[in-house]
Symmetry: C2
Subunit: 367 residues, 2 copies
Amino acid sequence: MSWNRSPLAELLGIEHPIIQAPMAGASNAVLAAAVSNAGGLGGFGGTDTSPEDLRAVIRDIRRRTSKPFIVNLYVGKAEPYVAPSRSEEALMAALQPAHIALEAGDPPGSLDLLARADEQFAVAIEERVPVFSSHFGLPAPSIVDALKANGTRVISTATTVEEAIQLVAAGADAVIAQGSEAGGHRGTFSSEPERAQIGTLALVPQIADAVSVPVIAAGGIMDGRGIAAAIMLGASGVQMGTAFVTCPETGANSAYVRRLLSADAGDAGMTDAVSGRPMRVLRNRLVDLLEQNRAHRIDFPEQLSMTRNLRKAAFARNDDEFLPLWAGQGAPLARALPAASLMKSLIAETERLLGYDESAALALAAL
Amino acid sequence: MSWNRSPLAELLGIEHPIIQAPMAGASNAVLAAAVSNAGGLGGFGGTDTSPEDLRAVIRDIRRRTSKPFIVNLYVGKAEPYVAPSRSEEALMAALQPAHIALEAGDPPGSLDLLARADEQFAVAIEERVPVFSSHFGLPAPSIVDALKANGTRVISTATTVEEAIQLVAAGADAVIAQGSEAGGHRGTFSSEPERAQIGTLALVPQIADAVSVPVIAAGGIMDGRGIAAAIMLGASGVQMGTAFVTCPETGANSAYVRRLLSADAGDAGMTDAVSGRPMRVLRNRLVDLLEQNRAHRIDFPEQLSMTRNLRKAAFARNDDEFLPLWAGQGAPLARALPAASLMKSLIAETERLLGYDESAALALAAL
């Protein structure tokens, strides 16, 4: 079972180098603890969560598991919040009928959803989370230093070789190589978006060649075949999002889970109309509406903030048309298994493919 | 060395299940024979070649190797050639300065580059090529039947699960699962292009689950890591294009090879402005010019035909700005090795990663 003795598993203190992607909106304490208790690294995406609630979730995870877990936060942009524009009014008008249909009140004006990021980072520091990951680059050096001073492992997402090199230079303990198959937001932070949609199979070995920290493959990995492939490509472990959304412990509503379980790969399309940054989601009425109004698109995260009440109402009503259905291109391989069973299957499939073979591991280590 | 005993290697009568992509414009008899003599399947892309010259190349390959090889042809569209339009005049005007600079004569009017496809298919049948592959779907049933009656193995490219199923239903002996990383034309023939850009790591297992013929992984595979990953994903072998363009035996000019060897993954972008169908190429002045004139874009292959003289002149002058520089997202991993050395390295890397392990192969076979 030599794939477990990977530098990543050692770095994170876990048995199997499988990270459940800490997905804002689709993760929770129950899912995170189930994955960690099964020997992987469960996680929670806290970007959508108030600092108080984030603290409560972290404490809830700790009540449910003594194993390491991961918390993810988005890094805000340096530029200040842009004041409401004429585009905003047009967006509000376009979104009005959906608000009425879902009894979501009047469409709200925009706000900077990441304005509270520094308070969220403070919670992660104070609560001494075992592993911290960021999207859209690393937080400020003082935050990275404070996390690391607590023994927190700090990792972040790269979508190009250049981004990986930048993250390592800024102190990342490991790098997530996010291939274009991945669901949710592209983690792109310093490349032009159209130059940063590189498939996992091409991206992982290029990043592995460029950095000396462990590389975590992400994007399209759904089963032992994907995990074994990632190991062959030079990854030290994997991060899987879509595969865990369909677990019964999910933070997603059941309508979203049903859509995922019947999706085909082509349904998971890329759009920047929902949030202002590229993300991969299943097409639904929200995507169609915001793409039709792409001329009025405002910046990230203000664009995403325009639908905050609508998404909340959709989630609560178990609607799958007016919230983003984040999905990777591996969605058709999703299984509706409890997290512990899924982990067991993933481990068994991977070990079968890797042949439990000590000599193979030694050959790998010699490369 | 159990990965060699794959159903694909058996089907094609080759020692190692590595196919050199039969790339129109970058392959030739010397490269094809070198790869076949090294135990892989060398190939020639004949779409740009007259029926007479195609016959000569096939005979030249046979003089250089007794091993199997592959010939690829594009399938034309059912609709008749569209007569010259006002767009065509605008394109000719836009292309005029480049024609002057490269002394390529006057920009020609459009023509249907695939008008001679039936004559090309006839040559492949008459010459009893060992392996035939097509892009943009399979040729007419009568052509497939005639090829197969000769013992020719017939394979074709799928970019979605649905396309793979269609190809098998139409008689394909194996299916190439072309991931979005791949250089050159997307083989998409029945899906909307934006739904058919699925990464190799996500696409291969989905197609492997859907069809019972051998699956050939393509897109982003450059070394033993990529090959071993493809095997883990359920592929029975691989097709590699970009990796062979930089061999000294290449059909590409040396300026193109130099660009490939210094490219990064983001340089290999997708565009439909060059030919009328999506392809992955390095950005150069040809791509920029045709994207600026995208409003005048005409159909495939007429759009591609607008640059036929310009591309010929660019090739001959060793120019890398006015011919399409097909490239996959794995380009940064390209090596300028002779084909026989490259094959040797690929095989050694793959066997090291797969651990020469019989038990692993048995486990794979049992899945």
